[in-house]
């Protein structure tokens, strides 16, 4: 068995990945839901049937050219900590992390493809890209799906399209999403009207870890909700338009804040720096929220010489499972808060106070 932690890209490398508009769009993802014909969906299938499905799908996916060098494993061979790390990296869903016997994962070396086996559907295939690249992600996952359909018999109906466990995914089985960092819109108090108008367009806005999570660190996920009656390319196009508009609104909000509410912005960034550089106990939630303002400060060039990658790396390494992996998985929450604060102070030693004239 390959060691997951030797396989995974290091947090510093992960933070170095760049893509278009990555100031605001942290990452893009397209996932397709597919199921095998004539077999019960994972939530209804009995354990032996799920195991059989996994044994059919796992080798088929691992043999794909895109997955030539991959980490392919049954979920019951991963520790709870491993799974949590995969969630913090946004490679698997929280639902999938709760799976054991009969579920699996195939992740390629570049971490540009991650396939979940027997999550809610037999197959949840994802293409991941840094920055604003939803079209590239769609093209990539479309190709992978076309290769895979030659080996596996997907459940498909002429009227209803690809059949999925939940009727909300029926048809294309596609979910196109982007993770956005929107501190400007939050500070300018424009975020709620934006969320509402995005909702009105039939798109969902969620927190950092998807369904039912809060928007920690001013990070929001925007994705399509409807999957039946609209083609993949039209969904991608619609998302592209909406996301471009959100990017524009965020840039405008930052500009306006600097012109009209400079002190408010400097106050948030200065306090964030003060806390992160000096705290001795800090929760992961507070860390995320303060790092968000530090990231904004870097974007606004208040920390000359500091790279955004430093902040993005801390976004990852300060999360509970990543922290436990570096130290020990037997840490209490308070010990974690202490170690987290030590780590952040250490990393911010090289960063000088924000330059606000």
């Amino acid at each position: 068995m390959k060691d997951l932690h030797q396989f995974l890209i290091s947090p510093s490398q992960a933070a170095q990945q760049h893509g278009p508009h990555d100031r605001i769009v942290m990452s893009s993802r397209v996932r397709l839901a597919r199921n095998l014909r004539d077999l019960a969906f994972p939530g209804w299938a009995k354990k032996p049937e799920r195991v059989k499905i996994l044994e059919t799908i796992l080798p088929a996916v691992s043999a794909l050219p895109e997955m030539a060098d991959s980490f392919a494993e049954a979920m019951d061979n991963l520790t709870a900590l491993d799974k949590q790390i995969l969630v913090e990296r946004h490679l698997i869903s929280r639902e999938h992390a709760a799976k054991n016997v009969g579920s699996g994962i195939v992740l390629n070396r570049e971490e540009s493809f991650c396939v979940m086996i027997n999550e809610e559907d037999h197959l949840r295939m994802q293409a991941l890209r840094p920055g604003f690249q939803i079209r590239e992600a769609w093209n990539a996952i479309d190709r992978l799906d076309s290769t895979l359909e030659k080996k596996l018999n997907f459940a498909f109906d002429n009227e209803l399209g690809y059949l999925t466990a939940c009727p909300t995914n029926l048809g294309t089985g596609i979910r196109v999403s982007a993770m956005l960092h929107l501190p400007g819109l939050v500070l300018a108090e424009q975020i709620n009207p934006i969320i509402q108008s995005v909702n009105k367009l039939g798109l969902a806005v969620r927190g950092l870890y998807g369904e039912g999570t809060e928007a920690l660190g001013n990070i929001f996920q925007v994705s399509n909700q409807m999957t039946l009656g609209e083609s993949e390319s039209s969904i991608v196009e619609r998302l592209e338009k909406v996301l471009s508009q959100i990017i524009e609104h965020e840039e405008n909000a930052r500009q306006t804040l600097l012109e009209k509410k400079k002190k408010v912005v400097f106050n948030h960034i200065g306090r964030a720096y003060g806390i992160l550089a000096n705290a001795h106990l800090i929760s992961s939630k507070e860390t995320m929220n303060q790092l968000s303002f530090l990231r904004l400060g870097v974007d606004m060039e208040l920390f000359p010489g500091t790279n955004r990658a430093l902040v993005d790396e801390l976004f990852l390494t300060t999360q509970p499972a990543h922290l436990q992996k570096q130290i020990s998985d037997k840490l209490t929450a308070e010990e974690r808060d202490l170690i987290r604060a030590d780590m952040v102070r250490e990393r911010l030693k090289s960063v000088s106070r924000p330059v606000t004239q």
Partner: protein, 169 residues
């Protein structure tokens, strides 16, 4: 007006969402609205809500009648009500009637548009074409345009000979 969730208390929260050309409406009482998290617009997504509602409303047309079970996997309507998920691909046939209304509120359309497995793509296109021709044929017969009707009939014959029976369904 009654709340559409508990069907007991009067509805005081009214929501309207316009998606494409369709309007979705919900009328809820204060308690149900709170329970569904509607006073917090940031966490609220209409489709999430519709699913829960639709599951109890639309999939239960035969309450009191014999419970329908999927012949392939044994899944029942009660199971759907509990989980909001279906048992197997064939359940979409088994529960087609109950699902139709639910799909309409949930999605942009009720017919798949977009990618299809390559092996099925051709038969799918032929099926679409046949449907269109049949429609034209009916119209031609109604308007007594028999010349066009004959031509259409021949085209349909040619196509259905080439396509597998399943596609013509």
């Amino acid at each position: 007006m009654q709340c559409c969730v508990c069907k007991e208390k009067p509805a005081t929260v009214h929501l309207t969402q316009i998606v494409g050309e369709k309007m979705q409406k919900l009328d809820l009482c204060e308690d149900c609205a709170k329970a569904k998290g509607i006073n917090d617009p940031t966490s609220f997504a209409m489709a999430d809500l519709m699913l829960g509602l639709g599951a109890s409303q639309e999939l239960d047309p035969s309450a009191g009648a014999v419970e329908v079970k999927c012949p392939r996997c044994g899944f029942s309507q009660a199971d759907f009500k509990k989980s909001g998920r279906l048992g197997c691909p064939e359940c979409y046939q088994t529960f087609a009637e109950g699902l139709a209304g639910l799909l309409k509120t949930m999605h942009k359309g009720t017919r798949h548009v977009g990618k299809a497995p390559e092996a099925l793509r051709k038969s799918r296109e032929t099926g679409d074409r046949l449907k269109l021709l049949q429609k034209k044929l009916n119209k031609a017969i109604l308007t007594e345009d028999f010349e066009t009707a004959a031509a259409l009939r021949d085209e349909i014959k040619g196509l259905s000979g080439a396509a597998p029976a399943k596609a013509a369904k």
